[in-house]
């Protein structure tokens, strides 16, 4: 008896959720990690997106139509990411989708978007090769090898290249593993820097003492860490505890405006490449201010935007420009052609000379963004921009 009631309630709930949008609005979907294991970087993405949408609508919308965003929280679950893409494509009549957030979600949701013929632009995934082979898949992030190469270029020009390095990375996580086994070794080999030790750990491991003892034995000048922000914190703290003073090189996935504060003195000398530097210029600073106001109003404890927030904000502006150029009307009868037109515009984005808070960028042939890389260094509990490299 009870379960029948549940099923009825479930069915009505599902119908409500699937209500179509008003025809005159231009709908875009936002597939995000409001909750779930990756929510640390994802939970405020909607705030950034809404900021951009408000700006666009306040300036008169797109060809006279208002932009409307539908939000779906996938909780980082690939299955739900698929549901999100399907809902946006089939039920909501969305013209394009911002997201999915993570690499794991992109891998299952990109094929769905491809079948449905709808553009998806991920704002955070950075695993190599995600968009390859897809016509409708894009991402407004930068791949790790390019970023790390540029970090080494910056070190070279500042004459702080280490004589030898050690690599430590999480073996059970895709991005960390591709950093530790591909991006780092490739970049070091190109620069002619010998790798004296390669050590693995598990992403969830909390005790890295045995690995750091091995590291200490190798005594490298610098240590490249392949792992997330949390993994970098764990490794650095254990290194300093065991008295390993080597310089730390991190990757784009470890970029976090809070890292300097989180690491304190332990972080001195740490370098990482990023496509979003939160102190870059006035434009970025004004975005930060707006973001802080909006997150505070929404009751978030996190008020400083991270790269996923900044990227999501830029994606809205890029999409708005694409919609404008494709002259979309939001007419449901022409949905399919207009979705294709948006994709075609994104494919030829290089001609726009577009510039956002991530700097000047466009999508490459495979759908990855060609973003500038900022190399930053932590010194005295704060970030300092070492260099910005675009080519």
């Amino acid at each position: 008896m009870m379960y029948r009631k549940y099923l009825m309630a479930a069915a009505t709930g599902l119908c409500l959720a699937a209500a179509p949008a008003l025809a005159e609005d231009l709908v875009i979907g936002l597939s995000m990690n409001k909750t779930g294991p990756l929510a640390a970087n994802g939970t405020t993405n909607d705030v950034a997106v809404n900021l951009a949408v408000e700006e666009i609508n306040a300036a008169g919308g797109i060809n006279g139509n208002m932009l409307k965003v539908n939000i779906f929280d996938t909780a980082g679950d690939p299955k739900q990411a698929v549901t999100a893409t399907r809902q946006f494509a089939k039920d909501d009549g969305a013209l394009a989708i911002i997201g999915p957030f993570s690499s794991g979600e992109c891998r299952v949701a990109f094929p769905v978007g491809e079948r449905e013929g709808i553009v998806q632009i991920s704002n955070a995934s950075s695993a190599p090769g995600l968009t390859e082979g897809f016509d409708y898949a894009f991402r407004n992030t930068s791949d790790e090898l390019t970023q790390f190469r540029r970090l080494i270029t910056a070190m070279e020009s500042h004459e702080i290249l280490p004589a030898n390095v050690a690599i430590i990375y999480a073996t059970d996580d895709f991005i960390s593993k591709s950093l530790g086994e591909q991006a780092f070794p490739t970049a070091f080999e190109e620069a002619g820097i010998p790798v004296v030790a390669t050590i693995g750990f598990q992403l969830q491991a909390f005790d890295l003492a045995p690995q750091v003892t091995e590291l200490k034995q190798a005594n490298p000048e610098a240590v490249a860490i392949g792992g997330t922000v949390e993994a970098v914190q764990k490794v650095v703290r254990e290194m300093r505890r065991q008295g390993v003073t080597s310089r730390v090189l991190a990757s784009g996935v470890a970029a976090d405006p809070h890292l300097a504060e989180k690491l304190g003195a332990d972080g001195d000398g740490l370098l990482y490449p990023t496509y979003y530097y939160h102190k870059l210029n006035d434009e970025v600073l004004s975005f930060q201010e707006k973001f802080a106001a909006a997150t505070t109003a929404a009751g978030h404890s996190k008020t400083i935007p991270q790269h996923a927030d900044a990227s999501a904000y830029d994606v809205v502006h890029i999409l708005a420009e694409a919609l404008r150029r494709a002259e979309v009307t939001g007419d449901p009868a022409k949905l399919e052609e207009e979705r294709d037109a948006i994709r075609d515009q994104l494919k030829s984005m290089e001609a726009w000379n577009y510039s956002g808070i991530l700097g000047e960028s466009h999508f490459s042939e495979v759908g990855d963004a060609a973003l500038p890389t900022h190399v930053v260094e932590i010194r005295d509990h704060d970030f300092h921009l070492l260099d910005t490299i675009t080519e």
Partner: protein, 286 residues
């Protein structure tokens, strides 16, 4: 059908198939917390056979069920020697070993995961789920099912009436492994990607959780249990962060009110009896 509904439905149906993989041994009192390992084996086997061998889907799926069943058969003998908490831990250990090994096999992508090219959509998944439901309902109505339920209630007495306790338990575990393999294969082909991080012990724990919530006494339990697990959080979708707290509270509440699961035999018999009693009174009124 709306995209949202079909997305939720696919997730529900896949959860349901895996629920039956846990239910079948569960009906005989075996708690399998390593089911994610079998799901992973099925997913990777079917993906590999279809990607590398380019065999037709029907063949790769059947073979992946076979692989999962064989491994289930082999592991069932040592695992079924254990009891209670030990069995829970042994099955957890099995699931972890599978994941720990798969993540190091570069031929199937290792930690990078493994893309699957052949696509299976909702209708096929729905048909497979229906087949699994019918199969399990039928199996539970046979003498095999009777013996399995008898083992759940009183293993020594079942043996004293001629039930081959070990045979029935091994068969239930093995068939469960095959069903888990099917669930995994469908999962991989539908989501076009398999990655060991989808097959963690947490998945096994949650599956056992909703099977127990549904009830292991009748084959209808998993249908309800999987619904509670897959659809309830959808109802609370608007509550964002709070939805898992509500979900947890509902679980605790359900278990307090119905400790043998929502669907019990007593409930079904009561409903049936009410039906048969209601019928004659209608006639009498005419």
């Amino acid at each position: 059908m709306s995209g949202y509904l079909s997305g939720v439905l696919v997730a529900y149906l896949l959860n349901l198939i895996i629920a039956y993989a846990v239910f079948l041994p569960g009906a005989g009192g075996i708690l399998n917390l390593g089911v994610a390992g079998f799901v992973a084996i099925g997913a990777y086997a079917s993906a590999w056979l279809s990607n590398e061998m380019e065999w037709p889907l029907a063949v790769t799926i059947l073979l992946s069920m076979g692989v999962s069943a064989l491994i289930g058969l082999a592991i069932s003998f040592p695992i079924l020697r254990t009891r209670g908490v030990y069995m829970v831990l042994a099955t957890i250990a099995f699931g972890e070993v599978v994941v720990g090994l798969l993540i190091n096999v570069e031929a199937i992508g290792g930690a990078a995961g493994y893309p699957v090219f052949e696509f299976i959509d909702l209708p096929v998944i729905a048909l497979c789920t229906l087949a699994v439901v019918l199969f399990v309902v039928w199996l539970m109505s046979t003498r095999f099912g009777l013996a399995l339920r008898a083992i759940h209630d009183d293993e020594p007495v079942a043996a004293l009436f001629g039930v081959s306790v070990r045979g029935v338990r091994v068969a239930a575990f093995t068939i469960g492994a095959a069903i888990a393999g099917l669930g995994g294969a469908l999962y991989g082909h539908h989501y076009a990607y398999v990655d060991v991080i989808y097959f963690t012990t947490l998945v096994s724990i949650y599956t056992l959780l909703y099977v127990l919530i549904g009830g292991v006494q009748t084959p209808w339990g998993p249908i309800v249990g999987a619904a509670v697990f897959s659809l309830l959080p959808e109802l609370f979708r608007g509550a964002t962060e709070w939805r898992y707290v509500f979900f947890a509270a509902v679980i605790i509440l359900i278990m307090a009110v119905r400790p043998e699961g929502i669907i019990t035999r007593a409930l079904l018999l009561r409903l049936k009896r009410r039906g048969t009693i209601a019928a004659p009174t209608k006639e009498a009124a005419q």
